[in-house]
């Protein structure tokens, strides 16, 4: 191979690298990354609470909203909720609002809510709630999955799995 041929081979390889980079950019940039996007899909939802009363999420617009998808059959979900109850009590007056969406049966949710002294709404969502969490980045539809929405209705953070209190407090402090 002459020097010129090897150099043009380099060009060909580099063009391939550009194409690969562009492909990565296209597939990953357009894959759902919820942070920064509008939470309109979430805020526009209405779900029944554990007593069967319809609750539109829009009633909490303007608050710092922590929407937590959970279930009583999910032990890690149950374990972090007492911490949510405490934060709701401490920072609720400043505009923090937790909303739980349980992929679960209302009677089980009511029972657990009573046991931990739940002080924020527990809404009941079925398979549709799982699909909603998927559209917000929960591709495996696993629980717990938490979406934090700022006061202007934009997604500030999404978390698959339990949230550490220090991290949650830090995010809330920034948004409140």
């Amino acid at each position: 191979m002459t020097v010129n041929q090897s150099r043009w081979l380099m060009v060909a390889a580099a063009v391939a690298a550009l194409a690969a980079g562009a492909w990565v950019a296209r597939t990953m940039l357009f894959a759902p990354s919820a942070a920064g996007q509008s939470a309109a899909a979430l805020i526009g939802v209405t779900l029944p609470d554990a007593d069967g009363k319809d609750q539109p999420l829009a009633q909490w617009s303007g608050k710092v909203l922590v929407v937590n998808f959970w279930a009583t059959w999910c032990a890690p979900c149950r374990e972090e909720m007492p911490m949510f109850v405490r934060l709701q009590r401490e920072r609720g007056p400043d505009g923090l609002q937790f909303v739980g969406i349980a992929v679960d049966q209302a009677d089980k949710v009511r029972q657990f809510a009573g046991e931990i002294g739940l002080n924020y709404p527990a809404l009941i969502g079925g398979y549709g709630a799982m699909e909603l969490s998927k559209s917000l980045g929960n591709s495996l539809m696993a629980l717990p999955f938490t979406v934090i929405v700022d006061r202007s209705g934009r997604v500030a953070h999404t978390q698959l799995g339990p949230l550490k209190e220090e991290q949650l407090s830090a995010i809330v402090r920034q948004l409140i």
């Binding site: 690298a17 980079g21 950019a25 799982m130």
Partner: protein, 187 residues
């Protein structure tokens, strides 16, 4: 350093023979920049790296003969299944599926549900068939639900496998994978 001028009037310091290298560098650089930007901006939900359920709880099954199915879960490290959430159904009903033989598993103490049995690693379950047709086939439906030690739980998972039943005297049928692994360069 004094750069030699060239007769073609091209940019100083760049002879025609270097053009391909310069172009190559530019293309590769743009490609790398695009990829880096994409990777930086495309962070999905924060949280642990998780396997899809089909990989975390690999299901396969085979018929030992026309009277027994053998169902196997190969559970990845760091994941577990709930014993009492495992459900099996066989069609046609005429095959006469009996009670599955579930290993005891490991009992853990759950705050809400009390003593709960879980499975880790390989689990083998035997399911008797009272009236399986040798040489025929059955449809096995499996319900399972599991979690990861990383702190998440998967939704209930429903899977279906079609299993051939060996002819009388024949060897057990080859295991059927619920989710045969597909070759992927980006996993």
């Amino acid at each position: 350093m004094r750069c030699p001028s060239t007769s073609t009037g091209s940019l100083p310091g760049r002879s025609p023979a270097d053009r391909p290298a310069a172009i190559a560098r530019r293309f590769a650089g743009i490609g790398a920049l695009l990829a880096a930007l994409a990777l930086a901006g495309a962070a999905g939900a924060a949280g642990p790296k998780l396997l899809p359920a089909e990989q975390a709880f690999r299901l396969s099954a085979r018929a030992l003969d026309a009277t027994a199915l053998e169902i196997r879960f190969d559970i990845a490290d760091g994941y577990y299944l709930y014993r009492d959430k495992l459900k099996f159904a066989v069609e046609p009903a005429a095959a006469g599926a009996g009670v599955p033989v579930l290993p005891p598993g490991k009992v853990i103490e759950d705050e809400f549900f009390g003593r709960v049995a879980t499975y880790r690693g390989p689990v083998v379950i035997r399911l008797p068939l009272a009236a399986g047709q040798p040489g025929g086939s059955v449809s096995l439906k499996v319900d399972s639900q599991g979690c990861a030690d990383a702190g998440v739980c998967y939704p209930p998972h429903h899977q279906r496998l079609v299993l051939p039943l060996p002819a009388a005297g024949a060897a057990p049928s080859a295991p059927v994978d619920a989710s045969p692994s597909k070759k992927s360069y980006f996993n």
